[in-house]
Subunit: 401 residues, 2 copies
């Protein structure tokens, strides 16, 4: 497959317009985003598994049922979570206003919210915001939408990928937010994907499910999962490429490109993890089962001790081993092997000599790897995370409700 990732967004695929603006939920920053397809699109989504899913999540799950949608409205600054029946009414109202302004049926509007939990939405502000944003949509508005969905993110995240389907150029675009509260289980707080490919909704959903495992669901910043996580996708077919109606070669090409794009988004999210100075790729090999491999990788990725050690640029493999051991999974105590930043630090379950200067140079880099072989089987798992820093504490201790 000949594909290229570029600095695009959800408006890179044909037939999408978007915008992001400040409506007043936050002090000054953009806080309302809208993405609209010119024509009805196949729609699919994945949602947080939280038992306290927010009102927009509950509602969006219903909206997506038909497999067709045309617009996605997202606000930041207020999660509309733990807001009871009032929250549900407010979410429905947002859909009504958006549908009316866009001259669409309410069934085709998806919504998402992110921000503080437990506060009712100021609906007057939202109403004005919807009136403005529905009249300012632009074919280059995707980056503004990416900015408007940010919470503690320090920069907007957006990319697109372009490739051919049977000679026809097509593309997929993405925006995402979420620099804290990211845990492998759903994904990120919010990720929106658009494409001008034509595909059946159930195949689109199938692709989302498949790619999310090795990408968004393989990312953990702080082991937290939110009430509002969602991953929404619209496919409007405006490229003119033949519609994907089965798991044919085109489907495979699409899935591969989607995976490539989402892996890139995952790394963007990891790099912007709250307070992060380093992105860490953790690979567990030779586990006796897939579950063991995953458990071990996540235990390392969520270990505060491992994350602070890498922040301190210390190759403390004892903490890596301790994290793996604490899961109770199978590991050969006399056969495991560990590499940090590509340098072997333990073999046959014991410390080995390594070049300390080389290690210090390697640990000063901003992209690091941890690689552990358990010597118990043939299963592998890879997870992405970042280090844990003073800045993480500052951000989260000073974020006031």
């Amino acid at each position: 497959m000949n594909s290229e990732i570029f600095d695009g967004s959800v408006t890179s695929p044909k037939g999408f317009r978007a915008d992001g603006l400040h409506c007043g939920l936050k002090d000054e920053k953009p806080d309302l985003a809208l993405i609209v397809s010119d024509t009805p699109a196949a729609a699919a989504a994945l949602f947080t598994t939280s038992s306290l899913a927010a009102a927009p999540v509950v509602l969006c799950k219903k909206q997506i049922d038909s497999g067709v949608a045309q617009a996605i409205l997202i606000n930041s600054g207020n999660a509309n979570a733990c807001t009871g029946e009032q929250g549900m009414q407010d979410a429905r109202q947002m859909i009504q206003w958006t549908a009316k302004a866009l001259h669409l049926v309410p069934d085709t509007i998806l919504i998402a919210s992110t921000g503080v939990i437990g506060h009712y939405l100021p609906m007057g502000i939202i109403r004005n915001g919807i009136a403005r944003i529905t009249s300012s949509l632009a074919i280059n508005g995707g980056e503004r939408a990416a900015e408007a969905i940010m919470t503690t993110d320090t920069r907007p995240k957006h990319r697109a990928i372009t490739f051919d389907l049977q000679g026809v150029p097509v593309s997929i675009g993405a925006i995402a937010k979420g620099s804290g509260m990211i845990q492998p289980n759903m994904a990120t707080m919010i990720c929106i994907v658009t494409t001008d490919i034509a595909i059946k909704a159930h195949l689109l959903k199938n692709a989302l499910k498949r790619v999310v495992n090795g990408t968004l669901n393989a990312l953990t910043i702080d082991g937290e999962m939110s009430t509002n996580d969602c991953f929404l996708a619209l496919a409007n077919g405006q490229s003119g490429a033949p519609k994907i109606e089965s798991k044919n070669a085109d489907y495979e090409t699409f899935e591969k490109a989607l995976h490539q794009l989402l892996l890139e988004m995952t790394l963007l999210l990891a790099r912007d993890g709250e307070g992060a100075t380093k992105v860490i790729t953790i690979t567990v090999r030779e586990a006796s089962s897939e579950q063991d491999a995953k458990k071990a990788a996540r235990a390392i990725a969520n270990s505060m001790l491992v994350k602070t050690a890498l922040y301190g640029q210390d190759p403390n493999w004892g903490r890596i081993v301790s994290a793996v051991g604490s899961t109770g999974i199978r590991i050969d105590p006399n056969g495991f092997e560990i590499k940090i930043a590509g340098i072997n630090v333990a073999r046959d379950g014991c410390a080995i000599e390594y070049d300390e200067k080389k290690m210090q140079h390697a640990l000063a880099e901003t992209e690091l790897s941890i690689d552990i072989s358990l010597n118990c089987g043939s299963f592998t798992s890879q997870v992405y995370t970042c280090d844990l820093t003073h800045e993480y504490i500052t951000i989260n201790a000073e974020y006031h409700t």
Copy 2:
């Protein structure tokens, strides 16, 4: 039961001597501790469930099998973990040297180690240390032992409790270490209990198991569990009180007192959690099962976002709810209730008004509570933790191997 906790230690019960000294594993601080009973004692223990238990843990598990022991040797500064066959030999050698110096059979010596993982013990230093410490034991040496088992602890932890068994005054003493890497599953890095009560070994073990759930196992500092955690107990019968040979009234009295003492030790450990400025007691009520209650309590206790919010003195109950929701357990979205520091902040699943000034005063205290009722049943769980601070990051980023 008429009982009193006092500022004692493992040498408070009759017939125990101890010491702690600097043998050279650490730079200057005490790093070797020995606790000896004048007579053979009933012995019981609980160990880490890590699949990479350290050599001393593996060996100690065998040693304790007989149910009799007379001495416990503990070093800090080096965990003797991930040290392969050499580590096992070194641990056995430590037992041999201690037994010889004390004129005891090796079978009655228990050992424990704590400190850096993956380094071989410098056995010359250990040998000299054992020679010195076995000749300096004292009936008031328990506090020195408490000091010698410290790693990143800022202060030694030791307490004792005294009460009567059928009119005979008896006591239980304890020392413990572990201010990071504490997770409900085993307990603390190391906790040693001594008593002059006479009790059958299996009843002693039974008591350990029972009390540990609501105390040491209900403590989490950073969600980590170590390769070296152990909880060892010796009961030498020197008080002269009638031997406990069944689960009679005396057993109940003993278990209650042990619980009281370990709860006190648990709070000492929480207060000295790495970088902690606040001890937090988390209570989950009205869960639909015991497992749900525990899961929810631990999720809150291990949530970096909850812990940083309390450090920042922000009553961010959204993060509490988010942590509970992420476990997927049953919670009534329209019926849960949350109190922070005794002040109601959410009811019927929604935010409620509260006195902000009162809240700010309450959050400035060093001991805080989080109380959440799920409105799904009748099960309760309580867990202890501390806040997550800049100082935690400093301690763990600067701790070099």
